[in-house]
Amino acid sequence: MTLLAVERIKLLSTRSPWWCALTALLLTGGFTALVVSQSNAQFPATVSATQYAYNFGMAVIMVLAALAVTTEYRFGTIRTTFQAVPNRAAALAAKATVIALIALVIGEIMAFLSWGLATLIKPEADLALNSAADWINVAGVGPACALAAVVAMAVGILVRHSAGAISLVLIYFLAAENLVTLIPGIGADIFKWLPFNVLHKFVTGNGESAGGAAYGQPLSTSTLSQWWALAYFAAFAVVLLAIAIATARKRDA
């Protein structure tokens, strides 16, 4: 508990988390407003459409998470941290927990803000959350962001440089996974199991939250069920974090 409080003080006593949170909210809110206000019979405003831009918010949250460790390396405060808490595994696990919690909170605010904005813009559309799929599509954004933040933080620990970690995370998340589908023959099969594609499956399922409309968020090709998809990505995040922590323990700080 002490270590969680320490990491909370550290994270919230600098400005970048606040800026990142604000950016995430503006970005997703803005996009949602745009998408929903342009909706029509062909592209109806659905629960799915209100989360159209959750990826962008998630990308910003991952930047926040990566920065939370890379700035510690950049400014040497990681050394002060390990000096105060020589148990590096405990210190980094506490940091991951705090970052995941903050990402969860930002993710939920982001998702419900987008959904709320949509209901204001299109009061006549059926945006009520009345199925499990609807709920997961909105409330599931929080846990998805939390786990994605852990992944980004693990990359931050491994890479240690802000620019390197951020570009790695963003290029992988926004481009690299999709490029795999271009590999002839096996590309699509590999893509089914790539972590962020699977995470997307958790959020969007088979598109039930699009209320049967042909158009909503692009869907994941993963064949896992929604909950298995979440478990799969969680395992990925935990393994990556464990590797990062093991590396940080062996390395000179």
């Binding site: 320490v6 050394r79 148990n87 000179d252």
Partner: protein, 316 residues
């Protein structure tokens, strides 16, 4: 007590610390002296468990740093004053440190007061001058009211007032019975603050003694000799084990007293034009002792002429 045993650290091909063993006694100020690149900072990082020794150990009160419970309460350290997030306030910086070792939040204001930063406690640390950063670092070191304090070149870059403040501060810490281990590359600075000295060069131990002994050994031992018959005197000096360094107009002899040189000259029928004990500065003496273990030589050809030894020995 701090104890280093065969401490060795290798970075790639670079042997930064080489089989270093020494002890730091409790309740005293011990200087850790060595030229740039000697391995002082590396040794201190290993003391704090930040860098892992390639081999060997260093313990504080018999324990490795990583075995200390709430280490900030046992060991306070200032290795680099810049290890602070520039956008965090001084108070926030100390607060998380205090929290991590279950130190009362009241102590944060106490140490801010001790180092004289109370007024700027809520200002962002990035805007601090070097002297203020150094004070913040010292506040962090004092936070846990530790028995052992490590400072890496605390006066580096400070103005005379700051230097004086730190010097007095360390004396005060020692008067309170704490163990202070402070590194420097200036013997003159250490001569004023430290009672004991651990001297290293190129990662190796050069000497461990009291400051008094070291200074005496360093300053008494050189004698300048001028003579038209140096060719005859030199072998005689070599035979008695003197360290001889040629200069432009004579020799600098270390390790043998002036009287003995006079007697040797007499025995070998050498005329002496000058036989002068050198009262060099502490820094010159230090350079003489650490002579061949200086990591990075500047081009000292020209200065060598004026300097009693050390670099001259290397360049010749």
């Amino acid at each position: 007590m701090i104890e280093a045993q065969s401490l060795t650290k290798r970075y790639g091909d670079k042997l930064a610390v080489d089989d270093l063993s020494f002890t730091v006694e409790s309740g005293r100020v011990t200087g850790f002296l060595g030229p740039n690149g000697a391995g002082k900072s590396t040794t201190m990082r290993m003391m704090l468990g930040l860098d892992n020794p390639t081999s060997g150990t260093v313990t504080i009160g018999g324990k490795r740093y990583s075995e200390l419970h709430h280490p900030l309460r046992t060991v306070g350290a200032l290795l680099d004053a810049r290890w602070v997030h520039p956008n965090r306030s001084a108070r926030a910086h100390l607060s998380w440190m205090a929290k991590s070792n279950k130190i009362s939040p009241k102590r944060v204001d106490e140490v801010l007061d001790i180092v004289g930063l109370s007024e700027v406690a809520s200002k962002r640390a990035g805007g601090f001058s070097l002297g203020m950063s150094q004070r913040l670092g010292i506040a962090g070191a004092l936070l846990g009211d530790p028995e052992v304090l490590l400072f890496d070149e605390p006066v580096n870059g400070l103005d005379p007032e700051g230097i004086l403040w730190i010097r007095k501060f360390m004396q005060r810490l020692a008067d309170e019975g704490r163990t202070v281990f402070v590194s420097s590359h200036l013997l003159s600075e250490m001569a004023l603050t430290a009672t004991d000295l651990v001297v290293i060069g190129k990662g190796k131990l050069i000497s461990q003694s009291t400051t008094e002994e070291f200074v005496a050994r360093a300053t008494d031992s050189t004698v300048k000799v001028r003579s038209p018959h140096l060719d005859r005197l030199r072998p005689a000096l070599d035979r008695v084990g003197a360290t001889v360094t040629p200069t432009d107009d004579g020799l600098l002899v270390a390790g043998v007293a002036g009287e003995k040189i006079g007697e040797l000259a007499m025995e070998n029928q050498v005329t002496l034009h000058e036989l002068a004990p050198q009262q060099g500065s502490l820094e010159q003496a230090f350079m003489q002792i650490t002579g061949d273990s200086v990591e990075y030589h500047a081009d000292l050809e020209t200065e060598a002429a004026e300097q009693p030894a050390g670099h001259a020995a290397v360049t010749n």
